[in-house]
Symmetry: C2
Amino acid sequence: MSLSHGLYEAFLAVARAGSFTAAAHALGYTQSAVSRQVQSLEDEMGAELFERLPRGVRLTEAGRVLLPHAEAVRDRLAAARAELASLRTLDGGLLRLGAFSSATASLVPRAQAAFRERHPGVVVTRVEGPSVKHLGLVAAGEEDLAVVGPTPAAPPPPGVTLHHLLDEPMLVALAQGHRHAGRRAVRLAELADEEWITGHERLEDTLFRPAVAAGFRPRTGLLAHDWIAKLGAVAADLGITLVPALAAASVRPDVALVTIHPDDVPYRRICAAAPSTPTVAATAFLGVLRETAEALIPPTHP
Amino acid sequence: MSLSHGLYEAFLAVARAGSFTAAAHALGYTQSAVSRQVQSLEDEMGAELFERLPRGVRLTEAGRVLLPHAEAVRDRLAAARAELASLRTLDGGLLRLGAFSSATASLVPRAQAAFRERHPGVVVTRVEGPSVKHLGLVAAGEEDLAVVGPTPAAPPPPGVTLHHLLDEPMLVALAQGHRHAGRRAVRLAELADEEWITGHERLEDTLFRPAVAAGFRPRTGLLAHDWIAKLGAVAADLGITLVPALAAASVRPDVALVTIHPDDVPYRRICAAAPSTPTVAATAFLGVLRETAEALIPPTHP
DNA sequence: TGACTGCCATGTCTCTCTCGCATGGTCTGT
DNA sequence: ACAGACCATGCGAGAGAGACATGGCAGTCA
């Protein structure tokens, strides 16, 4: 049951050439080698594949039956080779991408567009979800790359390495008529009396986590889970809320955004999570992500 | 480029088991053997197929790409094996059958029906034509079996063996009102004054060949190439003609048939022409042909 | 923290398999 | 009858595949 693939190669060559000698010449083998290979295949199949004639050979019925199968196998193997090669050269393949929701507002779509421009053959699938989930998926090999924000579990899971992309400033969203609207920057202390709209009951789970750790205790009455609801409340001047810079582009026009000082609410560190041995496509996409991130928010480390 | 097929077997087993060790156990190999096989395939493909983890292995993207191809190849080879096996057991396959035209009146269709009854999986294709042509086709391997009558070229071509099926009596076709109609047998001498309808200009090319060689010189005015025309003329009492017994069943009812003495127009020797190394299906069909021939015209050798 | 366990890689040996060379047999065409 | 073409086969050298044993690495449990 060794059944080397060369047997089929020899079979096809002989079927094509109509003679062992000619096939051997075409394959760069000796006639005796081809004769033995065909014999091996015949033993393996339990049937004579060629009728030996004084002038060359001719396919038997078994040979005629086997021929299309052998051709199909040869073609399929060639297709597999070609597909693997196109994988190496980024002419094809699949990139399974993950990202947390506010990264999909501008960063990931832009990177995706740039990547598609350069490597149109690679299919990119994107899944949204919380960063922790993506870290797990990358570790499990079910995602090739993920854009993640900071997670409570500081060290990434084994087999996953984080590549820093950008430090995202935080903005404060205010109603257009708000007294701070129109300012370029604001300190958190100036907003201590505002009504804050948060995403979770526990402030530690929100973007406030660093500020809370520093002793900031805002008035939090309103709870809204999605951006639409949050910004709707802001527009109605029911309160104010934090907005990550990456989501700024998708904010409704009747809401004003004001930069908040990084000492009060620090930059959010956005990373790409890749397996320790990333895919060729993942590496390429990581490069595009870096460029896009730099174009969006230039690194202005204080 | 040896690329034994076992490589794919190992690859599939590992992909299925998720571990080299488990796959080796399933295949009855050692872990080291599977490790080397996978490595060979990876070298061959120029890509890592598995990601080595502390707990087993996991498919890389290249592995995921290769997997369906490998499965397809395995299935295709299995299909080829199955088809070849079914060929041996007459559960499938193709029988290319040839026959001269008057054999297709009753002998060949009956045999075909009996064969289909026993081996419904075998597809039988039938081609009509003159016997000499079929001998050539069988010799060329383009037909698996042929039913032929006597041919001018006495010895069959090399690689073709003739198997005697039956000796076919010759009949005389007469108009219903003919003076000889209704008789059981007739001698050629009694028909010397009749107008004979022949198929060819040269009498030597017709069923008369033996009689002509014996000195018989009939009046031949009418020439008709096909049976419809011949028997039409006979029915109109324009003349009489010879009809081989195998075609008797398909003669129109307003024509009478009378046996002619074998000393005058000898039995026509009907044979099956098979290659020296016939197909399983051809051998089986030959047996059915023998039975059918015996049932149609029992061998009454004088 | 240290021993243990499970898993894969690899060095080495052996045995089989394969290929090339040369020869022999068979059929064809001159 | 002889030369030519073609396939089968005996023989020897070389490569390849598998088994065995070992080593390295990571996770697990006491």
